[in-house]
């Protein structure tokens, strides 16, 4: 059983710059920030290393950080420019009984994160959900389609974005009712 700081130091030794920061200043859980293009390597290490054994991915959540600049759109509503989208990974080890939270952030305009579907199979649908609702593109995901919204929902329109606007029509049906 290891605490967040020990895990962070081991990761730092193995991955250097790909492991960016440890945020301990949170009320409940420490968060380790990782490079979005190296997350699958870090994940594989965490799952297979004898001292880690993080065999279960409890949760994977896509988040719109909404930390960019707010600008007015042509029709007067706020849209967000710049900033980041994030993915949180909550890991747990069934055998060693420790937990850790990882976080990756990618630029909002073109958010690309390596898929961890190869590492934990249950990430498949979670990543599809994060793609569908937040608009994060997972590289090397075998089947990145929408999952909650209809497959033919307007492209580039992701409902959990903070500046999301309902389309007026979907397939000729009026959306806001």
């Amino acid at each position: 059983m290891k605490n967040a700081e020990e895990i962070f130091n081991i990761l730092k030794d193995n991955f250097g710059d790909a492991v960016i920061a440890l945020d301990k200043d949170t009320p409940t859980e420490a968060v380790i920030t990782v490079d979005p293009l190296k997350i699958h390597l870090v994940g594989e290490f965490l799952r297979t290393n004898e001292d880690m054994m993080f065999d279960s991915l409890m949760c994977l959540s896509g988040v719109d950080d909404a930390n960019g600049k707010k600008v007015k759109d042509a029709d007067g509503t706020d849209i967000i420019e710049g900033g980041t989208l994030s993915v949180y990974y909550h890991l747990h080890s069934v055998s060693l009984k420790h937990k850790i939270t990882l976080k990756v952030s990618a630029p909002r305009e073109d958010a690309k994160v390596e898929s961890v579907e190869n590492v934990w199979k249950c990430a498949d649908w979670h990543e599809r959900e994060a793609f569908d609702l937040v608009g994060i593109k997972f590289l090397n995901h075998p089947d990145l389609r929408r999952i909650m919204m209809p497959y033919d929902w307007e492209e580039g329109s992701h409902p959990l974005r903070k500046d999301y606007k309902n389309p007026e029509f979907y397939q000729g049906m009026k959306v806001p009712y």
């Binding site: 009320p27 409940t28 719109d64 909550h90 069934v94 199979k121 249950c122 909650m148 409902p159």
Partner: protein, 371 residues
């Protein structure tokens, strides 16, 4: 001479009585043999997570009812626990005891639906009626307690919406002694029924390493033989005070991790829930159930992930707070959503009729799959 065969695509659902809601399964079949199953979700998507962002913390509770509508108490509790952890609220003892009792009653009620509908799907309709008859007792206890039979809005952040009914303890005790004797009826009717065993044993075998890698939880995981239960392995509330066993699949009628094992784990779990209720019911302390409810819910900045053992498995809430009265982001890790993912693996090589048995044994609720 050999017959030429062709693979065919068959849509099961979205309007199909045994998909327990609106789920479409795209089956690729060769004759009666299933080659591949692709679930298509989203028919019940109603933007719970988006709604939650537009509401104050306490206003989200009634929405959580509608996730897993067969186990609404657990949903309320998981959400309340997450916010309480973020704010550092300690709830009174009385509240903890009442929460444990209603959650365990809810587990029994939920398993009764799961077992009954699993049996009904594959042709045994009678046990369904027996189980629903017994479930009625629990629902009437809940109705006395909070006025609702299905969507309770009972467990609030920091407390409960109502104190228990004066008859609560008496009625729960009556139910426990009644159901302890009646559960044998279920074993005789269904568990050891030859036809039921033929339909479920050795069907949809889920090996343990696959189960863990796919993130399966609850009876679906324990059916594969690992005693992993969050009530003991990641204890929350006051579960460490109670003495109970964690039933696991042992392959009594076939291989470990088959449909029958998952079924049987649920039956034995109901007994253990009765045991927990028995231990808790006499020790409810006096007190005010609303004393710890904060006047204004405004958690500090930060993130929290909590999980509880819901009847269907690990129910997790991930909440990000930006220091406002509304949550910045709420993500629900729904057990049915994750368990359903393994369906494709389980169904390969089985017959079309077995898909129904397998789906019933995983026990999904579309309300939380689609959110």
């Amino acid at each position: 001479m050999s017959l030429k065969t062709e693979t065919m695509v068959l849509n099961m659902g979205p309007q199909h009585p045994s998909t327990h809601g609106v789920l479409r399964l795209e089956l690729k079949i060769d004759g009666e043999l299933v080659l591949d199953v692709k679930p298509h979700l989203g028919y019940l998507h109603r933007c719970f997570e988006k709604h939650a962002e537009a509401m104050q913390y306490n206003q989200v509770v009634p929405y959580t009812d509608r996730l897993d509508y067969l186990a609404a108490m657990g949903n309320n509790w998981g959400y309340a626990l997450a916010v309480e952890k973020l704010m550092g609220i300690q709830v009174p003892e009385r509240v903890e005891y009442i929460r444990v009792i209603v959650a365990e009653l809810q587990r029994i009620a939920s398993h009764q639906v799961a077992l009954g509908s699993n049996a009904a799907d594959i042709g045994a309709f009678t046990p369904f009626l027996y189980l629903f008859r017994d479930r009625e007792h629990i629902l009437s206890i809940f109705e006395d307690t909070c006025g609702a039979r299905m969507l309770y809005n009972y467990i609030w952040v920091g407390g409960l919406s109502h104190d228990i009914h004066p008859d609560f303890v008496k009625k729960v005790k009556e139910f426990v002694s009644y159901y302890k004797a009646t559960i044998i009826e279920l074993d005789n009717l269904l568990s050891y029924n030859k036809i039921f065993i033929e339909r479920t044993a050795n069907i949809g075998v889920l090996p343990l390493d696959t189960a863990i890698n796919f993130g399966a939880s609850g009876p679906a995981l324990r059916g594969s033989g690992i005693p992993f239960d969050l009530r003991r392995d990641d204890p929350y509330s006051i579960y460490d005070r109670f003495d109970f066993e964690i039933p696991v699949g042992k392959g009594l009628q076939g291989q470990v991790g088959d449909c029958w094992d998952r079924y049987y784990v649920r039956v034995r779990e109901m007994e253990q829930s009765l045991r927990i209720i028995e231990q808790a019911i006499d020790h409810i302390p006096e007190g005010d159930v609303q004393s710890a409810i904060p006047k204004r819910i405004k958690p500090p900045k930060g993130t929290v992930y909590t999980r509880i053992e819901n009847p269907r498995g690990e129910l997790g809430y991930f909440i990000i707070s930006d220091g406002n009265t509304n949550p910045f982001r709420v993500k629900v890790r729904a057990p049915s959503f994750v368990n359903l993912e393994v369906l494709g693996e389980l169904c390969k090589g089985h017959l079309v009729a077995d898909v129904i048995a397998i789906l019933g044994s995983i026990d999904i609720v579309l309300g939380e799959v689609d959110r």
